[in-house]
Symmetry: C2
Subunit: 249 residues, 2 copies
């Protein structure tokens, strides 16, 4: 089917000089921890974007990232395609990719959808969560209370709280829809939870939501979740005066 004329050249004809460094820097597929290099690349790039080390609007090339991450273009390429489909990168055919940029209006759109989806998840959770799932939620909030001043510990717990609710809502499509929105959160820059007063407020809201869930009061859980999202947006907007990655429009 492919009448290619094969002037088969040995691909390994590269001169041996530098072979030592090669071997020393040998990378196994799925190195060590079972994660593929493509996954590593994906996470690294995402993290760099979230931390602002790669500014929004920056131009990225496969070779550049491959050099930075110490791997070949193939897994980098895969990672870039994935980030593109998540919406973090904007691919320009034959010309590399741009780091997506969100303005204030985009952020408001994002929160508008979150105000739709997260309350639905809370309500479904109130209806369908098992007792052990509710116990797990309580445990997360108990630990959350202990680290309100420590964002590095708090942020994963916050994430876990939301993930557990979503899991208990028993709807893979709700999960997918929310994931599609959450994917762009790295573009928003620093989390609200870096600010301790807001962290305390958010924690209290979590407690209230969980209480409603525990009482199987779906309507109240829904309402509280909506105001939780809405409060989070207000905090973000208030902070935009500062150094956020979000461009003021």
């Amino acid at each position: 089917m492919a009448p290619r004329s094969k002037t088969r050249k040995p691909l390994r004809a590269a001169p041996d000089e530098g072979a030592l460094e090669r071997i020393a820097a040998r990378r196994m597929p799925a190195a060590g921890d079972g994660r593929s290099l493509a996954e590593v690349a994906c996470d690294e790039i995402r993290r760099a974007i979230r931390e602002g080390r790669v500014p929004t609007g920056a131009h990225l090339t496969e070779m550049e990232l491959a050099g930075w991450l110490g791997m070949s273009r193939t897994p980098v390429r895969e990672a870039m395609r994935r980030l593109e489909s998540e919406g973090l990168l904007l691919n320009q055919p034959f010309r590399g990719a741009l780091v997506m940029r969100l303005d204030v209006e985009d952020m408001q759109q994002m929160f508008a959808v979150r105000e739709l989806l997260e309350p639905a998840a809370a309500a479904a959770c109130a209806l369908r969560a098992t007792e052990s799932e509710i116990a797990a939620l309580r445990e997360v909030l108990r630990r959350e209370a202990e680290v309100l001043g420590n964002p590095a510990a708090l942020i994963p717990l916050n994430r876990q709280f939301h993930d557990l609710i979503l899991e208990a809502a028993r709807n893979q499509f709700l999960k997918k829809a929310i994931a599609a929105v959450y994917a762009l959160i790295p573009l928003l820059g620093d989390s609200n939870l870096l600010d301790e007063p807001h962290a305390r407020a958010a924690h209290l809201q979590h407690l209230a939501i969980l209480e409603a869930i525990g009482e199987r009061d779906a309507a109240r859980a829904e309402l509280l979740a909506r105001s939780h999202v809405s409060h989070s947006l207000k905090c973000r907007l208030a902070r935009i005066e500062g150094d956020s990655q979000i461009t003021r429009s």
Copy 2:
């Protein structure tokens, strides 16, 4: 930040011997129509799934698909990763991929989320659509009326109607969330619109929704869109007695 070592080689130094065969077997990236092979592969596989030529639950390997599509593993791999992230394929590390399978409960979950998102889109559309967008919607429905018995023509128009509403809703995140859900529609098998009575009913519902949008009545548009989705689910459920790809649980 680009530690590229440039061993600048003359790219034009290719010897002329064998040039004829090369030209005969020429493969261009982004062949002809501007679409990359990876995109072609993605669409082909998706289509094969939708049409049931690849049954749900089937096991796929990269080489197999590469052979079928007449291209190398690289673009196929890219396509599979994309379809995996859409949720159509389930990747099993080192073991290939499975075509995802939805049961009735999954379908009900999907429609539950659509009942949340599509009414929101209709409402936002009613608030924000320009007059020319509304005119475009009218035009689509006018053409829809003419092909109610011709699914091949009807289905793209139906899609266009929903896309135009989504576009007019002016919310990229709503768009992303709905896209995440729609991505799995190919797994549902045959469209409801193959059935002319249902096509007529759906068309009438479209007209009603558009009328509400034209009158800028967001609440009514929302309500009508919800019942449109709900009706669509009922039709799907009624058809599951038959030959659907959906497995009865």
